[in-house]
């Protein structure tokens, strides 16, 4: 990934900063620069999402590209944030314990790296929400 593009994604990846339309109240993650409902009349501002949500659906990845091969098997899920928007993210847990409807919370992890000499990407993954970890 180009370093410039990576850098632009940092607020969204680190802190789940998306956007909100002040006219219709629409919430967007990943961030959008225009509101699909209000079009030109929309007023878009930054909006930070808490990162807690639930699993809508998931898949277990058994074979992956070289960057992720060491991590297989891992869980990739569509997560509905408590505020509404849905996003795709990795769930750090035993694949057997993943369930649709499972509550999750955000954690900060390495998302990948450009080989051993390139940039390291950091950002948000998810983990099952447990009482002790609140």
């Amino acid at each position: 990934m180009a370093v410039a593009r990576l850098w632009r994604h940092i607020p969204a990846r680190y802190n789940l900063i998306g956007t909100e339309c002040q006219i219709c109240g629409g919430l967007y993650f990943p961030p959008r620069t225009t509101c699909p409902t209000c079009r030109r009349d929309g007023k878009i501002i930054e909006r930070k999402f808490k990162g807690t949500g639930e699993v809508v659906t998931y898949t277990i990845i058994y074979s992956a590209s070289s960057t992720f091969r060491r991590q297989t098997p891992y869980v990739l899920a569509i997560i509905r944030l408590d505020e509404g928007p849905q996003l795709t993210g990795q769930i750090v847990c035993n694949p057997d314990e993943t369930k649709i409807g499972m509550k999750v919370r955000p954690i900060f992890r390495k998302l990948g790296e450009d080989g051993s000499s390139g940039i390291i990407y950091y950002g948000t993954k998810f983990t099952p929400l447990r009482e002790a970890s609140k």
Binding site: Y14, N15, R70, I107, F108, R109, K110, I120, Y122, A132
Partner: protein, 345 residues
């Protein structure tokens, strides 16, 4: 008055037992457990490093006191496993806690005492009025070469401290450091694993530096061992801090509450700071704490603290060390090697 406004810690959920490492190398596990007073150690997940551990610890510190991250004027990270050789860990952490861009940040290095050196830097800036709050973090994913004695202890974890003048949970009365050029432990640039001076790491390094810093601090503050409810020393294994405490005239009741190494391992820059967090988790207003770190190379930073009434407001807001150590996931040596990237040796 200056001191700790908040603190937070993080420990990865994986553990490997001494028995499992000993099985692979043909060592006697009972001999090692008795020699080091360690049963198991933490292991980072495949996608965890010193930066991610620092971020989790920092977020727990902010959560504990509902600090506005924009009021943090400095973020300093002590580690000997910074993910980049050039590119600060501190900027990653500052961004991830929402403290950017109006602040200063830097990475600190001084073996296992870089985190306490960062606390001292924050104290200076807060005292001078340059910043309102400073965040000092010690975090490491330590590496021991396969088959080396360090492999039984080198662990992962970290703790973050917010230093300020307001909303204190513990006042820091004073700090004192003792530093010399002592080559007890080192790692050259580009090398994967550290080298150490074997038995040389004990007397002239660990014991001499902690003893000198601690004694001088007590002299400066006008205290004696009996004045403290708790004492925390750097914990490279379970034996050294116990012996250090005895040599200085402390009793087991003072050192046991902060001695977490047997179930955690040596978290290097995180070690004494996680020990202090374990003490703060249970200390009462008025409790006096003495903490002395040790970093190879070599130096010690000693701190004398008194817990304030503010500590009660922070209970239950962020995980305690006991909670972070609870319900670990045990892994075998094969998975451990994968986690540590040890397949390339």
């Amino acid at each position: 008055m200056i001191g700790i406004t908040s603190y937070g810690a993080y420990i990865p959920c994986y553990r490997i037992k001494v028995e499992e490492i000993a099985r692979v190398w043909g060592d006697n596990p009972e001999h090692i457990k008795k020699g080091l007073l360690i049963c198991e150690k933490s292991v980072p997940d495949l996608d965890e490093d010193a930066a991610t551990i620092a971020v989790e610890a920092a977020r727990n510190a902010i959560r504990r006191r509902d600090i506005d991250p924009k009021e943090i004027g400095a973020v300093y990270i002590g580690s000997e496993s910074h993910p980049y050789a050039v590119k600060p860990t501190a900027t990653i952490v500052a961004e991830a806690i929402g403290a950017t861009p109006d602040l200063t940040a830097a990475d600190f290095e001084f073996a296992c005492k870089a985190g306490t050196a960062a606390i001292q830097a924050c104290m200076g800036e807060v005292t001078m009025g340059m910043i309102k709050y400073g965040m000092a973090i010690g975090a490491d994913v330590s590496q021991g070469a396969p088959g080396d004695a360090l492999e039984y202890t080198a662990a992962a974890g970290g703790a973050a401290y917010i230093i300020g003048k307001k909303n204190l949970i513990a006042e820091i009365e004073d700090t004192f450091s003792f530093t010399t050029d002592t080559p007890d432990f080192w790692r050259r640039e580009g090398e994967s694993y550290p080298m150490h001076g074997g038995r040389f790491t004990g007397e002239p390094a660990y014991f001499k530096h902690i003893m000198s810093a601690t004694k001088s601090l007590m002299k400066k503050v006008g205290t004696k061992p009996g004045d403290y409810d708790y004492v925390v020393f750097h914990q490279p294994n379970g034996k050294f801090p116990l012996r250090m405490a005895k040599m200085l005239g402390f009793v087991e009741e003072q050192i046991k509450p902060g001695l977490v190494v047997s179930k955690l391992g040596n978290t290097y820059s995180g070690s004494s700071l996680i020990g202090l967090a374990a003490v703060l988790d249970q200390a009462k207003p008025g409790s006096r704490i003495l903490m002395t770190s040790f970093g190879s190379g070599a130096g010690s930073d000693a701190f004398s603290m008194t817990v304030t009434d503010g500590i009660e407001e922070t209970r239950g807001k962020a995980p305690t060390i006991a909670e972070l150590l609870k319900s670990p996931k045990y892994i075998d040596y094969a998975l451990y090697a994968k986690h540590k990237g040890k397949i390339v040796v």
